[in-house]
Amino acid sequence: MVLITVLIVIVAVAKVMRSHELSAKMANDEEYVSLSEIKTQGFLYALFGVLLFGTLLAQMVGWGEFILPVSAAEHGDKIDDLFWVTMYLILFVFFVTHTFLFAFIFKYYEKKDQKALWFPHNNKLEMAWTVIPAIVLLSLVFYGLATWDDVINPKDDKNNLEVELVGEQFKWTAHYSGKDNQLGKVNFSAITSSNSLGIVTEATLDSALVGTIASIAQLEGQVKVLDSLVEKAEWSGKLEELAEAESQLSAWKANERRLKKLIAEKANYSVAEDDIIIRDTLFLCKGRNHHFSFRSKDVLHGAYFPHFRAQMNCVPGITTEFTFKPRYTAEEMKIEAAKEGKTFYSYELVCNKICGASHYKMRFPIVVLEQKDFDAKMKAAKTFGEEIAGN
């Protein structure tokens, strides 16, 4: 690296000195660049064209194995088909237009007796290269939209597995719907240390309210102490502390109001005791449609499943969704990947929306299980009911 840099600098300096000498020699009426210089540059441009094409092809061969891992979700094939149709079209246009570009430079660089053609416009040509791209693009639009519709609005499936995925700085939590296949309702006001997702049941709301009231009492005490200190003019550094405590107090009071409202509207209670929360791995069931609900507890996160051609942002305040059906376990995936000459290591969910300093570490291993293994896994896991009872 250092060598390359030094080499380039030396070449650069040499060039500087030479061009300086040249420019000093040039008389004022001489051409800015000579015809022989232009010829050199024309050749170089053509050479560059060859190298550009060559290196692009070399990259496609050398790194081709990285392009699109095998799709582990059923809808992925539709996306990949659309991708390759678009990609071949792009490559075709790229090579054709660039061939013209480099060929024209090579053929028409300035020469002594060469005259440029007077050719300001041509309606037929212009019409052709308006209409043809328009037709091609419209076909692409409709093909793309059909695929989008297929992927984003999958047919209703009674057998859908309801799963909620919650992002927070810098970890993921999976929330399964349990026996009833219905996710418990959630509300951020109900979050406590024993209910990290804020699942709403009669018990969790009550305990959240108790906790909130305790926080308020503690902060009110703190504010009182700080207030008296400030009054006694012992306020070095205390003003910031006071402001911080007051803002926390006001946040907890708002939480109290929200909780009381939730408790008053009993309709908000949900049956969530059968729900299952898993914090270290996302287990998926092979061959079943998973309807994912995505939430975030703090900032934006992006739930990206590269192997499953799925992605959706997690947005605080709203629930977003995506549905897909895994079709290979990791073992099967290894075989499928080998068929295409690719290597498969493991499934993983990664965060794909900048979320803070450890954004790059916000990951979640994914394991795809056969139905019976999946059922066993769920049976063995602690339910939410057991979790809060244990606390």
Partner: protein, 604 residues
């Protein structure tokens, strides 16, 4: 004064009234070089400020590229610039990595390619190419520059506050950018970012309004709209885009300021952070994203159109051929500008926006490829059977066309909502936009600097060094950004400090090393440019009045760049600007000021 411009006296037009040319000016150093109201001086001020900002932006990219290629390795270079706090033992911290990525993007997008590009060339060329003495308002023009300068200083200053500069990405999505407890850069650094951007927007608006008024009102006699060079068309439409979209960014930033400082909740809801459920509820980050991209997408064309305008002019002049399809070019630019306002949602396919909107935005986005394709074909037709004078400016202009094709085409993949599912926010996006609007616009800017350097300073830049600069830059650009597409298609997310821990990204380490090597090479190329630029200002060879054999009016003004641009009367225009190699003329260019011969048609 050359014989050439004496010729204009003969036309004897006397409208536009009084003659500024011979005023005695009592200029001091301050009024001439600092608080100047002269469009040429302001253009230079913008250019040099932008060059300084570009060096900062580029330096930052090298700092984070070192980390990406050799994660965890210490570099004395990093430690020298960032100190022990942000690069202990020469290893960038994750916080600082994000800060650098953020400020790099902000500086290049706004300060170099928006302020720098439009500010420099709209200011230089609008009065010159329209035959005007100056901008409609010299005072507003001066204020526009100084606001730009102040905002640049604030942006740079924000890098030195405790906690570091804004670090939420150049798009500063809340809640990350709204909550200091989420990332240290969202404290004072973010406040300064917002203040700087607000001032920048004011600067941009003053500039744009001035450009629009000047184009509509100060065209010289005979300069009809369809006799304007394409540069002016592009600057005009760019200014209109800016006036319509930047105020939306201001409102977007203002609401973020409120959320940060005054306890409002435009963008915040249901947030549980550091053990506390925040009071703010009812807002939505999606609102921010809509407002941001309502500017953000036209912004892409605010960057690109001036570059395309400069490229059109440089290519026509150096091909010694009229630009092919002049009217089609204008219509394409108008179509691109119109469509650019209804495609912003393609940045938001995966953000939780209603999928039906995704359908609409896919449709409009792919349509934008039609006028873009027309432009590319017209450029190709222009150089076909030309007599291509491959000056450094022409090399860059052709390079711009190449980048516009390469980067534009991958837009067909990203603009398609179904395909975006898999590559949204990956390195594919990074590769795409750096080629098309980063490097593409920079190439247009370089073409402009090399081509109009004689107009700025009355001197030439050193051509050999220009060629070296060109080859290092284009090789660097393709070497850096082509491989990124492969990373993206493998699923590597952008804005990752390191991919080391990911099993699934094994085997791709070399790609990052290659990218960084090319990036270093390209930046050395830029140092050559900077040397050439400043060296030529002082020691460059003197240029003649019309060194490129160009038709446009800026080359009828004396080399000395006098106040009021022309001595005596301003020129009168009799034809369009692209009569190159016109049959019936002995020379291969016909100045716009030359009247049509008997029986000659205007020919476009």
């Amino acid at each position: 004064m050359s014989a050439h411009s004496h010729g204009h006296e003969a036309h004897g037009h006397d409208d536009h009234g009084h003659d500024h040319g011979h005023h005695e000016h009592h200029e001091t150093f301050i009024t001439k070089y600092i608080f100047s109201q002269d469009h040429k001086m302001i253009a230079k001020q913008f250019l040099i400020t932008a060059i300084i900002m570009a060096v900062v932006g580029m330096g930052m990219s090298i700092l984070f590229r070192l980390q990406l290629a050799w994660p965890g390795e210490g570099f004395a270079f990093s430690n020298f610039f960032l100190g022990d706090k942000f690069a202990p033992e020469g290893v960038l911290t994750p916080d600082m990595y994000l800060a650098l990525v953020t400020i790099h993007g902000t500086i290049i997008v706004f300060f170099v390619l928006t302020g720098g590009l439009s500010g420099t060339f709209s200011n230089l060329l609008i009065p010159y190419q329209l035959g005007a003495r100056d901008m409609a308002s010299g005072l507003l023009n001066m204020i526009s520059y100084w606001l730009f300068f102040i905002s640049s200083v604030i942006m740079i200053a924000s890098c030195f506050v405790e906690g570091g500069p804004a670090s939420a990405g150049w798009t500063v999505y809340p809640p990350l950018s709204a909550l200091p407890q989420a990332i240290p850069g969202s404290g004072l650094g973010m406040t300064l970012w917002l203040v700087s951007m607000a001032i920048f927007i004011a600067s941009s608006l003053l500039g744009s309004l001035n450009y629009i008024v000047t184009v509509f009102n100060l065209r010289t006699k005979g300069m009809t709209m369809t006799r304007m060079p394409l540069t002016i068309w592009c600057f005009l439409i760019t200014a209109v885009l800016g006036v319509l979209s930047f105020p939306v960014l201001l409102s977007c930033a203002l609401l973020l300021m409120f959320d940060r400082s005054f306890g409002t909740a435009f963008y915040l809801s249901d947030i549980f952070m550091s053990g506390i459920p925040l009071e703010a509820t009812g807002g939505s980050p999606l609102l921010f994203e809509h407002l941001f991209w309502f500017l953000g997408h036209p912004e892409v064309y605010i960057i690109l159109l001036p570059a395309l305008g400069l490229t059109s002019e440089v290519i026509a002049t150096n091909s010694r051929k009229p630009i092919f399809g002049y009217r089609a070019m204008i219509v394409s630019v108008l179509a691109i500008a119109f469509l650019s306002f209804i495609v912003w949602g393609h940045h938001m396919f995966m953000t939780g926006m209603n999928p039906f909107l995704g359908t609409v935005f896919t449709f409009t986005t792919l349509l934008i490829a039609i006028p873009s394709a027309i432009k590319v074909f017209n450029y190709l037709a222009t150089i076909w059977k030309g007599n291509l004078r491959l000056t450094p400016a022409m090399m860059f202009a052709i390079g711009m066309v190449s980048l516009f094709i390469s980067g534009g085409l991958t837009g067909l993949i990203l603009g398609d909502s179904a395909l975006d599912i898999n590559i949204h926010d990956t390195y594919f996006v990074v590769g795409h936009f750096h080629i098309v609007m980063g490097a593409g616009a920079i190439f247009g800017m370089f073409a402009g600097v090399y081509h109009w350097f004689p107009r700025f300073y009355g001197k030439f830049m050193l051509p050999k060094m220009g060629y070296l600069h060109f080859w290092m830059t284009i090789t660097g650009v393709y070497g850096v950004f082509f491989p990124m597409h492969f990373l993206g298609l493998a699923g590597v997310p952008r804005r990752y400090y390191s991919n080391e821990e990911y099993e699934m990204f094994q085997g791709m380490e070399n790609i990052n090393v290659i990218i960084t090597c090319f990036a270093i090479m390209a930046s050395i190329g830029q140092l050559i440019f900077i040397f050439n630029f400043f060296y030529s200002i002082f020691k460059g060879r003197k240029s003649s009045q019309n060194p490129w054999g160009s038709n446009t009016l800026e080359w009828t003004a004396p080399v000395e760049r006098i106040h009021g641009n022309w001595e005596g009367k301003i020129p009168e225009v009799h034809r369009w600007p692209y009569d190159y190699s016109k049959p019936g003329y002995d020379v291969d260019f016909v100045d716009q000021t030359v009247p049509l011969k008997d029986g000659e048609s205007e020919g476009h």
